[in-house]
């Protein structure tokens, strides 16, 4: 047997500091909140202490953002704003290795993903939106679109840097100022991004980054002087936010959970469909809101596909996120691990057939072996609830109509995948699927030019592309 020797990326590259402070009005300052300790989910060791914001810090940050909006950023010509954003894009690219290693340390995702997906895509988002800053008149959103003002943004822990980029880049390009709260378990890369923003000489107050738990987020979205709230995270919290901003005149975009169907027809390129299914559910340990967590496969190829899928999944290498050969890293937190385990046992209890990859798992840290449930029916919790982990539920269908009906039979509607060699069927399906993003013969591909967002309980509003600009403009 050929064992790959460990090929770890050096953790020194992350330039990890013992403590991090929040970024307010252009300065790094101690927060008034109780400091939090951020943990490496692969080893359970404490990485750093991070100061958090108190209620008055949130107020100071919003005031700083308002000042920056009124005096500088809101009235700056787009071409000038673009220069700052291009600078951020370049600096993210220049510090990509540092950011990638830090992201893998803090989040637990494999280095090959942070290196090849998260960081390059984050940089690409800044580049793309910098280009829009002086062309907003031509975005097709009407004449003379105006910025909204101060945006309060709350982001999740699954793509900490990339989500910060998705939120900051369009807001800044459109002339808004920002107060952003990174997730409690993954604040580090957002604070390095703050360092980049400081070095890029962005005027003080244009971007403020306040780490903290949910209470800081609630304080931020509830602040009376916010004009816009953007949230990515759970549907549960999304609903609370929508209640709290109702009637306030704040604009809102929500990007929430999902339970995407990956639909495989019998004429699909099976080996590539297997790759797409694997990428759809095991990318980022399944911590992806648009993960293809429900596999709908045509009955005539179900057995063959499932055999191929098991063989392929057994080759996934689960372990040290910093090892360049790791395919599946660590679950972000013990809390999430518990949640995944609970849903998996519900699947067993409800009678689905469980298959677990025989891969070895590390002794410590939060790891979960890739799991596939066959014989799942629509009524089971594992077919309805978002698991947000490396767990795939397999259902079958007989006809295209049945595939559409089952795929749409969810309160969510973020993404879907279609696998078939027939172009006409791709278009027919895409017309009928209630999902914001439909991938054809691929899955989990992201690009700043493509709008992303959902239906129903997956939220509303779009991020990326021309459509994404509308969320930050008064049109």
């Amino acid at each position: 047997m050929w064992e790959y020797a460990p090929a770890p990326e050096s953790r020194d590259i992350a330039n990890l500091k013992p403590s991090y402070r929040m970024f307010l009005d252009g300065e790094f300052v101690e927060g008034g909140g109780e400091p939090l300790k951020t943990v490496n989910p692969a080893t359970e060791e404490v990485l750093a202490e991070v100061s958090t914001a108190s209620k008055s810090d949130v107020d100071k940050a919003v005031k700083a953002a308002r000042r920056a909006y009124d005096r500088v950023w809101g009235r700056m010509p787009g071409a000038e704003r673009a220069k700052y954003i291009f600078r951020i894009a370049r600096m993210v690219a220049e510090r990509s290795r540092e950011l990638a290693v830090l992201e893998s340390l803090d989040n637990g995702k494999p280095i090959k993903e942070s290196r090849d997906v998260d960081v390059p895509t984050a940089s690409a988002h800044f580049f793309y939106h910098a280009g829009w800053a002086d062309k907003l008149d031509y975005a097709g959103l009407g004449p003379d679109p105006r910025p909204l003002g101060v945006a309060g943004q709350v982001i999740p822990w699954n793509f900490p840097l990339l989500m910060a980029a998705w939120k900051l880049a369009p807001a800044l390009a459109c002339g808004n100022t920002v107060v952003l709260k990174p997730a409690e378990t993954t604040p580090l890369t957002a604070l390095v991004l703050a360092d980049i923003i400081q070095q890029a000489d962005l005027p003080p107050g244009v971007v403020n980054i306040l780490p903290g738990a949910g209470d800081v987020g609630a304080e931020l979205v509830g602040h009376p002087d916010i004009d816009k709230v953007a949230f990515t995270g759970s549907t549960e919290v999304g609903k609370l936010i929508q209640c709290s901003v109702a009637g306030t005149g704040k604009k809102l975009t929500l990007e929430l959970g999902g339970k995407a169907a990956n639909v495989v027809f019998d004429d699909a390129p099976l080996d590539q469909a297997v790759e797409g299914i694997v990428n759809g559910i095991f990318f980022n340990q399944g911590h992806v809101c648009c993960a293809g967590s429900r596999l709908l496969v045509q009955e005539s190829v179900a057995d063959e596909l499932l055999d191929k899928l098991h063989t392929r999944i057994a080759t996934l290498r689960v372990g040290d996120p910093l090892d360049k050969n790791t395919d599946v890293g660590a679950i972000n937190s013990r809390e999430q691990l518990t949640k995944i385990a609970e849903l998996v046992s519900s699947g067993e209890a409800e009678g689905a057939e469980k298959w677990v990859s025989p891969c070895p798992l590390p002794d410590k840290g939060f790891f979960f072996a890739p799991t596939v449930f066959a014989g799942v029916s629509q009524a089971m919790r594992i077919a309805r609830e978002e698991i947000f982990g490396p767990v795939l539920s397999v259902l079958t269908f007989r006809t295209p109509d049945e595939a559409v009906a089952k795929a749409n039979n969810t309160p969510y509607g973020l993404s879907a995948g279609i696998w078939t060699d027939k172009g006409s069927r791709i278009l027919w399906m895409a017309d009928r699927l209630r999902a914001g993003v439909v991938w054809a013969n691929t899955f989990n591909r992201f690009d700043p030019t493509a709008p992303f967002g959902g239906y129903q309980e997956s939220g509303f509003g779009r991020e990326g592309g021309r459509q994404g600009l509308e969320a930050y403009l008064d049109v």
């Binding site: 050929w2 064992e3 790959y4 020797a5 004429d267 590539q272 080759t315 360049k324």
Partner: protein
């Protein structure tokens, strides 16, 4: 199309049925799942980022050396050239006798006698190209005679080319019959079937040609002659590795894969081995089931092997040029 040959009588009914007549064969080959170009290229590129270091790298280098079909297929080949290549194959790094020997020496049919003599009882196989290599454009009697010449001279492996013209015009039965006939002419010699994937153009065709060759009794499927560009590529090899894996699932027998042409560096070779390991499976990491058709690759493997052991790079003058 000829009646089913001895080569495929042991097949499961569904596959034996596929070779019953031209129509069945066509239906079977066109019923194989398609290959998505974007998907297979993305997967190949993804696997190519595996980082193979230290002991794993040294193991890969030694394994790759033992899988090399050291090849010379030039109009300018002479007995002297072939003899020196054989000497190189027996002892790739003269200062380090522990370096494994190569798998085979691959020559034109008229050089087989020379190679057999030079290799003696070293255990290195002698592979001969045949069937009007590289174009395959000749009559069947000539192709059979070409094969018989090689086998009579002592070749224990035959690398035949398929009739790409027949394949591309949809005459699958003709290609099938040719392979069956040549397999018969090979006797006990192992048959490698060269698909010349650079001329087949699509991955769907590569998969169909792979299955066609396996149905007709190929012991190995080989990408290229090395005379057509592009020769071996990673995605093409992925498709062929998937085909031999699926063949094993269907029949229980393992067919080998040989990428040939364009693989020149250790880094490339390791990428192929990773694909073998993770696409076909670890059982294929064996010279009986995987070969590299190459000439300059061997010296790069030797230089990298030295660098791994000595901790520094030497230079091209520290390995022999043959």
């Amino acid at each position: 199309m000829a009646a089913p040959s001895p080569a495929n009588t042991g097949l499961p009914p569904a596959l034996a049925d596929a070779t019953r007549d031209e129509t069945s064969l066509r239906r079977f080959l066109h019923g194989l799942p398609g290959v998505d170009q974007v998907g297979v290229e993305q997967r190949a590129a993804g696997l190519a980022t595996r980082s193979i270091k230290k002991a794993a790298k040294l193991w890969a280098i030694d394994t790759a050396i033992g899988m090399v079909d050291l090849t010379t297929l030039e109009g300018a080949d002479t007995a002297g050239k072939v003899r020196s290549l054989c000497a190189k194959g027996r002892r790739p790094d003269p200062e380090r006798p522990e370096v494994p020997r190569v798998a085979a020496i691959c020559v034109y049919p008229d050089m087989v006698t020379t190679a057999v003599e030079a290799l003696g009882d070293s255990g290195i196989h002698v592979a001969s190209v045949a069937t009007a290599f590289p174009s395959g454009r000749s009559s069947m009697p000539v192709k059979i005679a070409d094969t018989e010449l090689a086998v009579a001279a002592g070749a224990d492996e035959v690398d035949m080319v398929i009739d790409r013209g027949a394949f591309l015009s949809g005459r699958y039965g003709r290609v099938f019959d040719e392979i069956v006939t040549i397999k018969h002419a090979c006797g006990d010699a192992h048959l490698k079937v060269i698909l010349e994937t650079g001329e087949l153009a699509t991955y769907d065709n590569v998969r169909r040609a792979s299955w066609l060759a396996m149905l007709a009794g190929a012991d190995f499927i080989k990408t290229s002659t090395g005379k057509v560009s592009p020769a071996a590529t990673l995605p093409v090899t992925h498709v062929m590795l998937q085909a031999v894996r699926d063949w094993h699932t269907a029949t229980g027998t393992r067919v080998g894969v040989k990428p040939a042409g364009g693989i020149r560096t250790t880094k490339d070779a390791i990428r192929y081995l990773v694909a073998v390991h993770e696409v076909a499976g670890p059982e294929w990491l064996n010279p009986d089931l995987f070969r590299f058709g190459a000439s300059s690759l061997l010296n790069d493997l030797l230089m990298q092997r030295r660098a791994q052991l000595d901790g520094h790079y030497s230079g091209p003058d520290y390995v022999t040029v043959d």
